[in-house]
């Protein structure tokens, strides 16, 4: 009897190592990124986040263009993805017959499973030409009075990157909001129907108000994905260190500057600045995900 007890304790202790490893790992990632970027943190301090020069030759580094590019592209991506994603989720959960729902959700899983680099490939050879010849001239012609749709039209740029990002985060928004909508208790919906409301009225009054925290959480989660997305954006955004109001102009994001310049950063301060950008990404993702977790 005694031997059995001890074997149980041993088993338990051995297993306990693994979750501890996870905690140590995440702590280690934070620690490693902070120490590796200490050079740049000491030299530039907080001004790193607000400086708009990025000059490897004179070793003057600031992350503002990348922060701007990341926020802008993610924001535009959300603008595109929220209506499409939410609309699809509502359609699937409330209108589509069960068979359609099942087929559709496995198709959406496929869309979510496509690797980022393939989105980038598709973006370069399919999306960018369409943006250059059709979409952007159209926007420039009819909405050109806005500063967002002015300037030369290369095809590669913030707008194309945002469209790719939107396609990539739509599956997240759909699957999270669909689950939230399906979790609304049937009795509440039935109550709305019993009062004579149409389906859309029921959706508006009951489902959207009941599911609001979950849906917002899903959107924040999607925002986190968009901010951290690297490959597809790197391939399409144009990689230009410039802050411009125009969505047509090439930009740069936090993740894509790391992807592009890390391997060739020979200088210590240069490398350390790039790692500090990684640290910024890490902090943002921790904040965003904690927020989303509180809401869902």
């Amino acid at each position: 009897m005694k031997r059995k007890d001890r074997s149980d304790i041993i088993f338990r202790r051995v297993l306990a190592v693994f979750p501890l490893l996870i905690l140590i790992l995440v702590g280690g990632i934070l620690f490693k990124l902070v120490t590796a970027s200490s050079l740049s943190i000491q030299k530039f301090g907080f001004t790193f986040l607000f400086t708009r020069t990025w000059d490897p030759v004179f070793e003057n580094f600031g992350a503002l263009p990348f922060i701007y590019g990341t926020l802008l592209s993610s924001f535009v991506a959300l603008l595109i993805a929220i209506p499409i994603g939410l609309g699809t989720a509502i359609f699937l959960a409330e209108y589509a017959p069960y068979g359609v729902q099942r087929v559709f959700s496995s198709l959406i899983d496929l869309l979510a499973a496509i690797p980022s680099v393939i989105y980038g490939l598709w973006g370069i050879f399919v999306l960018v030409p369409i943006m250059r010849t059709n979409v952007q001239p159209f926007l420039g012609k009819y909405l050109g009075f806005l500063p967002f749709f002015q300037g030369p039209n290369y095809g590669v740029g913030v707008l194309s990157a945002s469209v790719i990002l939107a396609i990539m985060i739509v599956p997240f928004i759909i699957s999270v909001s669909r689950e939230v909508i399906l979790a609304v208790p049937q009795v509440y919906k039935e109550a709305a129907y019993a009062m004579g409301s149409t389906r859309w009225e029921a959706i508006q009054t009951i489902i959207l108000s009941y599911g609001k925290p979950g849906i917002v959480g899903g959107i924040i989660l999607a925002l986190g994905r968009a901010i951290g997305e690297t490959m597809a954006v790197t391939m399409i955004i144009g990689n230009n260190v410039k802050i411009s109001a125009s969505l047509f102009s090439p930009g740069y994001t936090l993740a894509s500057v790391i992807a592009n310049e890390f391997a060739e950063a020979s200088d210590k301060l240069y490398l350390s600045s790039l790692i500090e950008i990684g640290l910024v990404l890490l902090f943002v993702s921790i904040v965003v995900n904690s927020l989303a977790r509180l809401l869902i």
């Binding site: 306990a16 979750p19 149409t198």
Partner: protein
């Protein structure tokens, strides 16, 4: 990801009806402005909304169709035996393939499995079987955060921990970066599937005087194996296409790798560098490589679907576990 129960209980009939009154007003404004506040008008509004919503869904389907169609049509013309069995040709020469990249990707995934599966599995079992509530919540929270950390950050981490001290890009560092990325998903799926194992199975084992760890190893894990494998396959499918963490760990290689501590080619890396290259032939090969990659990813995803359906059948009692049927004690 349903709403927690406490929120649900808070939302009683009273708040719902209050919401209804407030919202009803806005509906009247919204629809009443466009239509007469008649029964017919409201139904027409409903129809219009349905049309818009289904257009959204069509839009999503169209993106998926366009991506898959281009992959197939562009990829298949360059996908041949030479592509699968040859090394890349030197710059400027047409032909050649991605054999090294395909093998390299498989090696990287192998290393990733060695890193990610034990940690993920062990943590998942511990969380569901032993951990106290507080510790489990902390670990769950940390795995959720890990899931959201951009993949390129893992690349930087592996770079500072392995590449800098060893002074070389290596397959080893890339595989570990991918393995770390697998941990959170395997942990969470393992935990949730183990929780679903029916209590009577456990109790049957315990009633026979089996120690708890034997019950876990012989009953709980085998009967949730389908679910656990699902988690592994899904996480593997996710990291199989990852490029960012490999950029400065595995680094890529135009030849066969000489050891696991040297740079190694990987399919996503090769696709990336070919896609942004100026050569038409490389573009074609990028499409072929993408087709191979997506087939690998989809096969993993489909097998995950298969395993999870088997698991569900087991939980609902439609099939039984062979190993358990044969178990004597």
């Amino acid at each position: 990801m349903s709403l927690p129960d406490r929120k649900r209980s808070k939302m009683d009939a009273h708040t719902i009806s209050k919401d209804l009154m407030v919202e009803d007003h806005s509906i009247n404004e919204l629809i009443g402005s466009a239509f007469q506040q008649t029964r017919q008008g409201r139904f027409i509004a409903d129809k219009i909304i349905v049309t818009c919503l289904s257009l959204c869904a069509m839009c999503v389907l169209f993106f998926l169709y366009s991506i898959l169609w281009h992959l197939l049509s562009q990829g298949i013309s360059s996908l041949n035996l030479e592509f699968l069995t040859h090394l890349p040709k030197p710059v400027g020469e047409d032909g050649g393939g991605m054999a090294n990249a395909i093998v390299g990707s498989l090696i990287l995934l192998g290393i990733a499995v060695l890193v990610g599966v034990p940690i993920g599995l062990g943590s998942g079992i511990y969380l569901s079987e032993y951990a106290n509530q507080r510790f489990a919540q902390i670990v769950r929270f940390v795995t959720d955060v890990m899931n959201g950390i951009p993949s390129i950050v893992y690349g930087i981490f592996a770079y500072t921990v392995f590449v800098v001290p060893l002074k070389s890009f290596s397959a080893f560092s890339g595989g570990i970066a991918l393995g770390i990325m697998m941990i959170p998903m395997i942990t969470r799926t393992t935990e949730s599937f183990i929780r679903m194992v029916p209590v009577h199975l456990r109790e049957a084992g315990l009633a026979l005087g089996t120690p708890k760890w034997r019950v876990i190893v012989d009953i709980v894990v085998p009967s949730s194996l389908g679910g656990i494998v699902t988690g592994i396959m899904v996480s593997l499918a996710r990291v199989a296409g990852e490029t960012a963490p490999l950029l400065f760990t595995a680094f890529g290689n135009r030849f066969w790798h000489s050891s696991l501590f040297q740079p190694i080619a990987a399919l996503p890396l090769q696709i990336f560098s070919y896609a942004i290259s100026p050569f038409d032939d490389w573009h074609r090969q990028a499409w072929a490589g993408a087709l191979v990659l997506i087939m690998i990813v989809f096969i993993m995803n489909f097998s995950a679907v298969y395993f999870v359906s088997r698991q569900n059948q087991f939980i609902t009692g439609k099939i039984t576990n062979k190993r358990m049927r044969g178990m004597k004690n």
